[in-house]
Symmetry: C3
Subunit: 205 residues, 3 copies
């Protein structure tokens, strides 16, 4: 399970770092700012999870692969930003992939550390959405996850699938694949079809 | 003391979650965003406290009551926002109640974990103001606690009362009641009468 | 090494607290808000470092000297803001001094806790830039460190010097002096001469 966790984490790190770097370039940060934002977007969710379960120092600081992968993604984005932009909605698609990978790996790790099903689901969701929250807070905007199409819901669904699989005694791999597919599929369909949760009416009219 | 701590925490959770949900609805977040903001406003102070004293995983994640109470408050606010708005300044009054409850329960828990009087007072204050800070940072505005009428001062007074009571050998209950009443009273009177701390003059004129 | 760590930390605390208080006064926070921002700017980097290496409760909460020094700096700035403003670019110079002191002390402490060279360098950098990030996030602006002249680069250079010195078997003091001087010098020259890292072009034109 450890190798699986690390592989998922590094792949998620790469795609989230691209999303962080994209936001950084758009906000006209300098090269180092872009790299910091890549690293923050890529690792904040996992770092929050590790702090909350008491797994210090967080793996993203100790294992230098995360830094290398995040910086590589940041440099690629910095250099070929225009090309990456030309792809359709790259931030959203990369976000959806990172979201799915982190939600399932975060839930897996929380289970490994002995947390119960509700806490593990919440921590999986946080691992998925934490990077996006940190990225947006760092450029002083309301996190898109609070207004976007089924963003946190998809992360929670993915994490809950892994947790349910664990409770049903499934091996880790199929639960991870189903959970990640569910999360990515839900988010992708929501983007495509504009599925949104209801928004309250601040004033009655 | 444990039962007292949990009861205070859950009551504070409910009222802070309403304040978080109100800000979420006003910023036109979707249903899930409103629930996340409810949970964040309600539990961030306690989670920060638990991280800082090394009590991981934080009780707000492990004990599902916090999640249920925060989501319930969020759903009620989402559904009946107009009614809640019609009450006079509901955010401020709920904030004052949550502030008082969290400041005293935070100080109590820090004492339980063996921290000294200054650290326990600071942690009580942080437990009180942390949720409001997280709530406001998440919608990208300067936390109102930095400009509001005696906000953090009231939290500090409540926490300091509990700490002083502990040092004087009082039983926990009267110190908690006096501390919470002092905090709420101070904040409420400050809102009513517009008591404010001085603001520096950025330019001499 | 402990005395050295604490002396560096308290000096850095004082200068960072001035920078936090200056931002607080400019944003027209009240007296308490200015003190909270002083304390946050002065201690957030160190608190993040302590949380990440598992050194809870963080020294900035347990040792009341940090609170006293930060509040003293905040009060001085609050009272004599106009005079402090009249000095040339005080925020930037104080920032540079705090940055250098915190970067080296943060790296030292991470080494003390047994972290490897890359993690210790990152944690030294974070100790240096964390306070500035918290300060700016709390007044809802994009942290200046992401756009400023060689800000985080300077912190990383200072921390890396200390780490390299440790790996080469130098005694702590010369590595600390060289690292802090390198960080401050790099940042100061960058401000004077407008050295900046490249910024990506969001659109090809």
């Amino acid at each position: 399970m450890d190798t699986l966790l690390i592989a998922l984490d590094l792949l998620g790190t790469f795609v989230f770092a691209i999303s962080g770097a994209t936001v950084g370039v758009r906000n006209r940060l300098d090269l180092f700012g872009v790299l910091v934002l890549s690293f923050a977007a890529a690792t904040s969710g996992g770092i929050m999870r590790d702090l909350l379960i008491g797994a210090t120092p967080p793996v993203a600081l100790v294992n230098w692969s995360y830094l290398v992968v995040a910086c590589l993604a940041g440099l690629l984005t910095f250099r070929w930003f225009a090309d990456i932009e030309r792809l359709r909605n790259p931030v959203q698609v990369f976000d959806a992939m990172g979201l799915a990978l982190f939600a399932v790996s975060g839930a897996l790790k929380a289970i490994d550390f002995g947390l119960g099903p509700i806490a593990a689901t919440l921590l999986g969701m946080l691992t998925g959405i934490g990077g996006g929250i940190a990225r947006d807070v760092l450029v002083a905007r309301t996190p898109v996850i609070f207004q976007a199409e089924l963003y946190a819901v998809a992360a929670m669904a993915g994490a809950a699938t892994v947790v349910a699989g664990h409770w049903l005694g499934w091996p880790a791999m199929p639960a991870v694949v189903v959970g990640a597919a569910l999360c990515f599929g839900l988010r992708y369909m929501a983007i495509r079809h504009g599925w949104r949760l209801p928004v309250a009416q601040p004033r009655d009219s």
